[in-house]
């Protein structure tokens, strides 16, 4: 592998191969199985042999993992009936196989609009299955590094995971900027202002706010390294607890404090300033390692 390989530029299939130990990936329901969407042809849209979801097993430094990757170039990574069922099946399998972790390389606009109702229910099933895996004490890691980001129903799913790793190439939220601009005008959110878009929902901002656990460069090796680091953390005695009333109360309190502390901020730079970042205007140019050094993060 090159010294530096862009994660964003790889296909889902390539990302999976790059994440797991060489030669260990075994795909479930791969393309030759032809498990394709039954809904797309009626809309004049071609199907993909894997329905845009690559799932299977592998190892990460010899730790057994289950892994999924969404193909952002196919239907924007949107979750349809088949795609969703593959993800749900993977989580159900995790309950049985008890891997060291489930890794989801997420790149998705959320529910696949071309499959509307089927996609909506599918997302919910994935979310429920993910939470079952968490409740069983198996860590779920979301790795978000694609240019399409992780939005809508997949943004909700990311919010349910144990850990989120992002690069600044990626974004995580509910709605794309175009949707917001369409609804409430360009003053509300100028979708063409890329710097604004990335300040609002990009990896650096999410990291500074505590909404992602690791910020990495757009580099496959960096993502893999972060996943291994988090896996190692999970193996510490007493490290990973399933969700409890206490942990949700704590999360609730932090979310409440956020509204109180920065809920009136008009822009991310205002928030960063309040968080104690000395030069918020420089954040856009800073490297991931520098950003990580900015914020002393208490271990969850």
């Amino acid at each position: 592998m090159n010294a530096h390989t862009s994660f964003a530029e790889l296909s889902a299939r390539q990302r999976v191969q790059a994440m797991v130990d060489v030669g260990t990936f075994k795909e479930f329901l791969g393309p030759s199985q032809r498990v394709v969407s039954p809904h797309l042809a009626a809309l004049g849209v071609p199907y993909a042999f894997d329905d845009g979801a690559v799932i299977g097993s592998g190892t990460l430094n010899a730790n057994a993992v289950l892994i999924a990757a969404q193909e952002g170039e196919f239907m924007g990574g949107g979750v349809g009936e088949v795609h969703g069922a593959k993800l749900t099946g993977l989580f159900r399998r995790a309950l049985r196989d008890r891997p060291a972790a489930v890794l989801v390389l997420a790149e998705s606009g959320g529910v696949r609009l071309h499959e509307a109702n089927a996609g909506l229910i599918a997302v919910s099933e994935v979310m429920r299955a993910l939470l079952d895996v968490r409740a069983a004490g198996i860590p779920v890691l979301m790795l978000i590094g694609g240019a399409n980001g992780c939005f809508g129903g997949m943004g909700l799913i990311a919010g349910c995971a144990d850990f989120v790793v992002m690069s600044d190439a990626a974004r995580m939220s509910m709605s794309g900027p175009e949707v917001i601009e369409s609804s409430h005008g360009v003053e509300e959110f100028d979708a063409r202002d890329r710097a604004l878009v990335w300040r609002t929902t990009g990896g650096k901002h999410r990291y500074l706010m505590g909404d992602c656990d690791r910020l990495v460069e757009d580099d496959v090796a960096a993502f893999r390294s972060a996943a291994l680091d988090l896996l190692g953390q999970c193996k510490q005695p007493g490290a990973k607890q399933p969700m409890t009333l206490e942990s949700l109360r704590q999360a609730h309190a932090r979310l409440q404090e956020r509204i109180e502390n920065v809920g009136d901020c008009k822009d991310a730079t205002d928030i960063w300033q309040r968080l104690g970042v000395a030069h918020p205007e420089r954040v856009g140019d800073m490297e991931a390692a520098e950003i990580q050094a900015l914020v002393a993060r208490e271990q969850a």
Binding site: R13, Q17, G30, S32, G44, P46, Y47, F49, E71, E73
Partner: protein, 107 residues
């Protein structure tokens, strides 16, 4: 949608291989999957495309491909979202390059 099917003679049967896949089904793009086929004297092409009415062009592209590679015992399956002939040819070549015979990595 349009579904096209071609069967062209060819002699070069690749050594035993697992299915290979290249490309993605994005706008102006396509995915190409190669699988072992049961007829060693032919290469079959199954094309699923959102661009209708381009049968003759597809035929020209696959014939050109077979003239170069002359594959036998191979099934080529394509899901296409309006790629140009140049991009189609590129993906077909990339797919062949992925075969173990060509030293390519299985994906």
């Amino acid at each position: 949608m349009e579904n096209l099917h071609f069967e062209l003679p060819g002699q070069r049967v690749p050594s035993r291989f697992d299915a290979v896949l290249v490309g993605v089904v994005g706008s102006g793009n396509l995915e190409v999957m190669l699988e072992p086929g049961s007829d060693p004297a032919h290469c079959t092409f199954a094309i699923h495309t959102s661009a209708r009415g381009f049968g003759p062009i597809w035929e020209a592209v696959v014939r050109n491909f077979q003239n170069q590679h002359g594959l036998g015992g191979v099934v080529v399956s394509i899901n296409d979202m309006g790629a140009t002939p140049a991009v189609v040819s590129l993906r077909l070549d990339q797919a062949v390059a992925s075969l173990p015979d060509a030293g390519g990595a299985q994906i």
